[in-house]
Amino acid sequence: MNERVVVDPITRIEGHLRIEAQMEGDRIAQAYSSGTMVRGIEIILRGRDPRDAWAFAQRICGVCTLVHGIASVRAVEDALKYEIPKNAQLIRNMMIGAQYVHDHVMHFYHLHALDWVDVVSALQADPKATSDLAQSISNYSKSSPGYFRDMQAKLKGFVEAGQLGIFAKAYWGHPAYKLPPEANLMAVAHYLEALTWQRDVSKMLTIFGGKNPHPNFLVGGVPCPIDLNSDSAINAEKLSQVQNIITQMREFVDQVYVPDTLAVASFYKDWGAQGEGVGNFMTYGDFPEQGINDPSTFLFPRGAILNRDLSNIHDVDLNDDSQVRESIAHSWYDYSGGKTESLHPYKGETELNYDGPTPPYSQLDVEKSYSWLKSPRWKGHVMEVGPLARVLMMYATGHAQARELVDYTLSTLQIPVEALFSTLGRTAARTLETKIVADNLQTWHNNLIGNIKSGDTRTFNEVLWEPSSWPKKAQGVGFMEAPRGGLAHWIVIENGTIANYQAVVPSTWNAGPRDADGNPGPYEAALAGHQLHDPKQPVEILRTIHSFDPCIACAVHVTDPDGEELVKVKIL
């Protein structure tokens, strides 16, 4: 029997993910992705005040800490046909944008970099040569030989002390690490820089939302009022603080994140030919300019791409019963119509049916169910969502900056356009969209100030605040592009309370198990064919999985302890 390589826990992600890889020689024949934790937040949401839902939904995930809050208030607003003021729209855009920049940078340096960067090798680096390298790729101010010498000394003291802490038992010295010591030292230095930087830029959410993680939102607008004459509202001082943060974000992205990505990628061009996955991509679109109901004004366009065909963008309709459907053929759930059925979220059913091995276990039975994730499909297709999907969509629809950035990256790295469909392409796309979002933060900020100066300070529309003003029954979908991909929450409101709540999130699209037809999910498809240098040190698996930036608490969130049918909602 062929060996099964098991990686559990997959660390440096959000949540609990397990990968089992069926080997054929030194190659992965089949990979299986399993989410191993459930909480049941959608069930907890039922019967509650829809205005509270954002706080519950937000706790689906603390890394993408605002996305579920946004999707939730948008779902309620969609159901109630609730208009929000222009300032609220802009502030939400800025908060989402700030989350992108923060999250993507942290992903690159703190969750993904150690797959490519050998911390121990950095000890061998020559600080002077490191400084030369840093200055050759960027004009970032912290690049003197002394700076890198200090950094190296700190690292050395740490390693020599013998207590490696978070760096212990990793795959240091693995031949898959290709960076020269100087590049490693530079990257480790930026790992620490990014930790400081993220603390500063995370304050944008605190200014508008009161805290970070888990800032506050409000159905009908945003909770922070604007009053240039008040200390207790968004005033000139706070707006200038926001401006500083945007400047700080753009500087770091332009001078550190983008150059580092290109520098690291240049040593790993072979990863531009593996880890593709399914070749189908989907976006819901986000960053509205004229309101959420006009996708043509979104910064991130909406659409679906099948089989890498960028010339043909398909329309996506979240309310269409035949488009988004969830399968549970290999998930620990049951449907009244049987395991082979698939359902639209409005009609979703959730019946828990754990038939896996009793813990502690060493291997899952992948012939049966093997994950707490469902398998969402679009018109029956396995779809990849996330930065790569968005960059491809912008590229395909002619977004000038996206085209320019993609072409620049390809030519700098001297790789073909097909290299986008890969582990490397996914990681690079994340960097490129970060730059696009960071640049747009400035635009939204300018627009916000322009709007305030024109005399409009409204941030909240109170007209539908009282539940007594709502229809007896309403339903809606709140969508957004989360940093990890397209996210949507479906809500059904009856008599002022939540009758049903369903979230289909990016990592469910990407990390879900096989469907009824045996089609693997994007993670599983992307891993197939990987060659493992040493099955005991499967750094190759980590590289491709991390390129998706998994968020498993997001992906799994439904359960029912009694095995009762919980969610059965008819379309009104």
Partner: protein, 356 residues
């Protein structure tokens, strides 16, 4: 810094002066919410403190607590990791994965038996062990195994401290808190959803400094941070006293920073340090940014009615129940009165018959 080296010796070897050390101590005392008069004691304790091994377990969680940890500026997460503690197991931050990660946890437990600090975020499902597993091991088993030789446990976040959102009604997975399972170890509850960054590091600093747990309130939280309610320390309190309340988000009162009590603020029944420490290097806190406190550091705060329902409004259901009761009361009242009258009539009639 070697394991057996004290923090004082370590800083000294790094060329930090006594003056620098004293600065470090007064900042640390402030961080631990200790009065400035305690700096001397902090200095004496810190000088001899050793770098403890910390094992951080994540169960039914959203990683918000870890994200919060990384936002701490005093001490920063990097100085914590490099100088103050040995973070030997932490899913989100550690380089190793799979077998390597588990090996790191086991090695830390063995080498530091009886001395390591166990930090837990997330609740533990007891409905079915398979509701949450790591490396094929249920959370329950992993907690028990890791707690057995721990010096103390810090339950970070409301989920680990009190069950949190997975525990919210109807608690689909049977989620419980750390203290529901572990009874024989000192447990510090650092609640909040998530806790304030510097409260997490402040409690770690306290353990590092004194090697003991701080004074706790009846809910197991450090009094230094959770001793007073948000309301008591809120800068909007004077508006409450004067009866000036924001009636709606974005009304004139809201813009002027009036009290958010009527918009459902749970500050009066919530104990945390948000109003003084504030969030993200003192940038703001929920009330400072216009939203009422949702009470996230209190047990079962998810199940205390809408976040927008004022505390004074009670938790009883709808007015329909009251209307129903009114109707029933009226019916009973009229019914008994009628009954009494007809009884009286019958009695009178009987009297009349008797007298004739």
């Amino acid at each position: 810094m070697r394991k057996d080296q004290t923090l004082g010796a370590y800083l000294f070897s790094q060329g930090v002066s006594r003056r620098g050390f004293l600065k470090f101590c007064s900042a640390t005392a402030s961080l631990m919410a200790l009065p400035p008069t305690m700096v001397g004691r902090v200095a004496a304790a810190l000088e001899n403190a050793r770098r403890p091994s910390v094992i951080w377990l994540s169960f039914q969680e959203c990683t918000g607590c870890t994200e919060s940890l990384t936002r701490s500026h005093a001490p920063t997460v990097e100085s914590l990791i490099f100088d103050a503690i040995s973070l030997d197991y932490h899913h989100t931050l550690q380089a190793a994965a799979g077998h390597g990660a588990e090996a790191a946890r086991e090695a830390a437990m063995e080498e530091n038996a009886g001395e390591y600090l166990l930090v837990v975020d997330g609740s533990i499902p007891i409905g079915n062990p398979a509701y949450s597993t790591i490396a094929g091991i249920s959370n329950l088993d992993m907690l028990k195994e890791s707690a057995a030789n721990a010096a103390a446990i810090i339950a970070v976040g409301t989920c680990a401290a009190y069950g949190g959102i997975p525990h919210a009604n109807p608690n689909p997975t049977g989620a419980v808190s750390v203290s529901d399972i572990i009874k024989d170890k000192p447990i510090i509850n650092v609640s909040g959803c998530p806790p304030i960054p510097v409260v997490i590091t402040g409690v770690l600093a306290h353990f590092l400094t004194f090697g003991s747990i701080p004074e706790l309130d009846e809910l197991g939280r450090p009094k230094a941070f959770f001793g007073q309610s948000i309301h008591d320390r809120c800068y909007r309190r004077p508006f409450y006293e004067r009866g000036q309340f924001a009636k709606s988000f974005d009304d004139e009162g809201a813009r002027q920073g009036w009290c958010l009590y009527e918009l459902g603020c749970k500050g009066p029944t919530t104990y945390n340090a948000c109003a003084t420490l504030k969030w993200n290097e003192g940038t703001s806190f929920p009330i400072g940014s216009g939203h009422g406190c949702i009470g996230c550091s209190e047990p079962d705060f998810w199940d205390k009615g809408s976040f927008y329902r004022p505390i004074a409004a009670g938790l009883w259901g709808s007015r329909d129940a009251l209307l129903g009761a009114a109707a029933a009361g009226a019916a009973i009242g009229i019914g008994t009165a009628l009954a009494a009258r007809s009884k009286k009539k019958r009695a009178n009639a009987a009297k009349e018959t008797e007298s004739t």
